[in-house]
Point group: C2
Chain length 281, copies 2
């Protein structure tokens, strides 16, 4: 997905939030806004927003000296999600179409995102979302593609959401490689977050090589790009990965909640819709 | 009021809205964001936000070539308000404390503001607000000061809101000088807007000399500053004028709805509170 003009004030707003979480020194926070402000003119609108966000979050780390401001948030998210895990697992077991229910849970888990502007009461939101149907659903095709695939490449998104991914991975019945960011960025899952969520017990963990808040392939490692291009079935979680990968002609399924109005418009869906969408090919 | 860090992404967001209203040329809109972005480092946090907004809106005019993008909005607002005028006037006449009711209406009129991020359904909002009490009310002091004043300097805010100001001016029973911006900026009232609202029939119209969206004295004309400093009773409408004048030690009354969370926090009130507040002195 390209960068829209609306993304620019939003990136500045996100930078302010991250800078505040990184330091209480107002001068340093102002410096972050100054630097991000002067970067605007070099933002290529044809690039996906996470490519720009990557440079912004690097700058915030550099100015504030805080390498992982969302650490506490991430740990709390994972713990919150782990507390819900047994109950959600039981729901899947009791459901008629286990795979579909688990897909839905993986999507619902995408609500745990402190990177967007309006935090939501997590538990209440999860309950409410689970009671709804998916708004965009390429499920039949997903099921067929899964059946034909030997293995699955699963690109994770946020810490906490990882626990919901575990529920889906449990029912895929295929070998899964679970992909995390190489460095902390916003609340995106790194290796440590995936381990805390227990994913190392059911999947092979790999890092994509990027510190962008989305799998921007040009910033990923050569080994990851190779793995990606050879995959027969890829699950991509969340908005950042969608933004980065939406133009790839691959057997890619995007699982997300369209929390951002710009992304919703780009996808042709409504705000807060729950999506399982196959990439165009 | 000083500029808070939160004001900075908000100013960029407002610039995007104004640029879009000014032109459909995406390159020019991007250029506005580029230029405003690089201005961030020179924003002095000790200045009131309208001082910075003035420079931003000048830049938008320069880049887009559109001197008055809110012209249609302003005319529509004034016409909407004029349609409500007879009914509101009747309400004042039938009320027990006419001055207080008219003060409340002048404050409620402040909801007509396309410069903030969330436009509201105007009529519905007005009805709902009129049914509530003021949240912060220096009314007794205002009444006493009005009684002792020979004349009133009334600093207007938005087009449309001007019609509600007329209702208050009608019951002040004092000679009123009504102050408008010298040049169009956002939806702030200029001379033309005040005339359309009928204010020339009941007050002396003057321009403040500024094109800032708030009465930033340093940018006003010498003659206005003289008038201001000699006034015995000043009514200041809206957020922009509050931001610009909040530190003045004058017999100043701020009438506004605290639509912005940063202003509400600065004033020590809640978001959307209706305020009649005397300046500290």
């Amino acid at each position: 997905m390209r960068t829209y003009l609306d993304c620019i004030p939003c990136l500045l707003h996100q930078a302010l939030r991250a800078a505040r979480l990184s330091t209480s020194d107002e001068q340093k926070i102002k410096q972050v806004l100054d630097e991000v402000g002067s970067m605007i003119k070099s933002i290529p609108l044809e690039n996906p927003p996470p490519a720009t966000a990557r440079i912004i979050y690097r700058k915030i780390k550099e100015i504030t000296g805080n390498p992982d401001p969302y650490r506490k948030h991430k740990n709390r998210s994972t713990r919150q999600a782990l507390a819900l895990y047994p109950g959600l697992k039981k729901k899947v077991k009791q459901s008629r179409e286990r795979l579909l229910t688990a897909v839905k849970m993986a999507i619902v888990g995408n609500i745990i995102d402190f990177g967007v502007n309006q935090p939501l009461s997590v538990e209440a939101e999860i309950e409410s979302l689970l009671s709804k149907d998916l708004n965009y659903c390429d499920y039949d095709q997903f099921k067929a593609d899964l059946h034909n695939a030997d293995e699955v490449l699963y690109i994770g998104d946020n810490a906490g959401e990882t626990v919901f991914d575990r529920i889906l991975i449990d029912v895929l019945k295929k070998p899964v490689t679970y992909v995390v960011r190489s460095e902390p960025v916003i609340n995106d899952a790194t290796c440590a977050d995936a381990v805390l969520a227990g994913l190392d017990r059911i999947a092979t963990l790999v890092t994509s090589g990027t510190d962008a808040p989305g799998t921007v392939l040009a910033t990923c490692s050569a080994s990851f790009r190779k793995k990606f291009s050879r995959s027969r079935l890829i699950i991509s979680k969340g908005q950042g990965n969608f933004e980065a990968l939406s133009n790839e002609k691959m057997p890619l399924y995007f699982l997300l909640i369209a929390k951002c109005p710009v992304i919703a418009r780009d996808m042709g869906v409504n705000l807060n819709d729950m999506i399982l969408k196959r990439a165009s090919h």
